[in-house]
Amino acid sequence: MEKQFEEFKLQLEESGGVREKIRSVVTEIEASNRMLSSCLLSVHQSLPLSGVLEKANGHIETVKGLYVQLAEILKDCPGEFYRYHGDWRSETQTVVSLIAFLHWLETGALLMHAEAEKKLGLGSSDFGLDIEDYLTGLCFMSNEFPRYVVNRVTAGDYDCPRKVLTFLTDLHTAFRMLNLRNDFLRKKFDGMKYDLRRVEEVYYDVKIRGLASDGSAQGQANATGDQLTLP
């Protein structure tokens, strides 16, 4: 009996050590996320977008470096990705929401799973971006839009609500293709419809006052790139 428990003790101490290493990196990821988040928040204040994006991309590089470190730690415990996954799960969901929002600002399109992995330097080894984390991150991103459209309209960008509405509607439709379980992701997805409704309201307000440019066809055509040329 004693011998076996002695072995367990060693094994568990080892995995505890791994966990400690992971946690210290995750703390840094959290800090970088906060920097990135704070940087992205300035889009609500209509600062020049190109400057914001440049700074934000710098922070993403930092986060990427940290994820590479995590992947390096996990290399020593093959097949145990999901043993430790909970330790960086919520940070990963946050970072996905931030880089997906940033990606939309840059391109007007959705950040795909493979693109997200690439941005975070993941996917080459066993260490990947969990699909559910990615999807949860997208739900978090959606929460950012109501505030964004309100502030854009206040700043005089009357075309923004329509673009956001198209994007969020598409995203919501896409999410409805998923058979979700009764879990966290499901709850977050259920919240997305409130974002959608809020954006619809803003769009409606702008539209009935004749402020929105009447160009749904033109709007789709320049879905990419026009974010950068905003006043």
Partner: protein, 244 residues
Amino acid sequence: MTTNSTMRDEFAKHADYLNSLNEKREKVVKASRDVTMNSKKVIFQVHRISKYNKDEVLLKAENDLVAVTNQFMSKLVKELQGTDFWKLRRAYTPGVQEYIEAATFCRFCKTGTLLNLSEINSSLLALSDKSIEPLQINVLDYLLGVADVTGELMRLAIGRISDGEIEYAQKICQFVRDLYRELIVIVPLMDDNAEMKKKMEVMLQSAIKIENACFSVHVRGSEYTPLLGTDNPDFSFFGVSDFE
């Protein structure tokens, strides 16, 4: 709309992924439930032990356990083959814990020793396809199962005392104390130890119940002897009315 259709393609992939993951999880949960149910039956069989039928009862329990292994654990092992054991751990941990409990319980009654994890794992190797990485029970599930066995040992000890097998009860008592002493060192090191901490409290309670029962017999030994062998032993007599 191009954005829409690329999004749709992307989400179609994720939908497939989630569907197959959920299906797998569902199957594993089912297999795990079968293991739980049948392991419980083994435990009940062991409890049918009495002073005179020990070998017979244990033989049947052991055979039942082998059947659980071959029929139900093998199914769980097959369902889990080729998937991430840690990802689905929550789906199968109840079954595995119950199985550990049944197996260690049988082994203790047979030999008075603790069944090792490595022994269980090597028996699982035989169940699986050699080409794919086989299911190996992890330390955490093993310890959680072992912690549970002490509750059964407590019941067994009380039963043995009422049957007059005081020495057997004392042996159980010693075993449970040893286990508790070993585990108390390890628990803080375990991954997610909230569940285990609760089990440790229960374990201590079990150990105390056995000790109290042994104490009662020791102190009042001469008084209770005539009661032995009656069909309805009065457990409250031993200070263990709380029997769960």
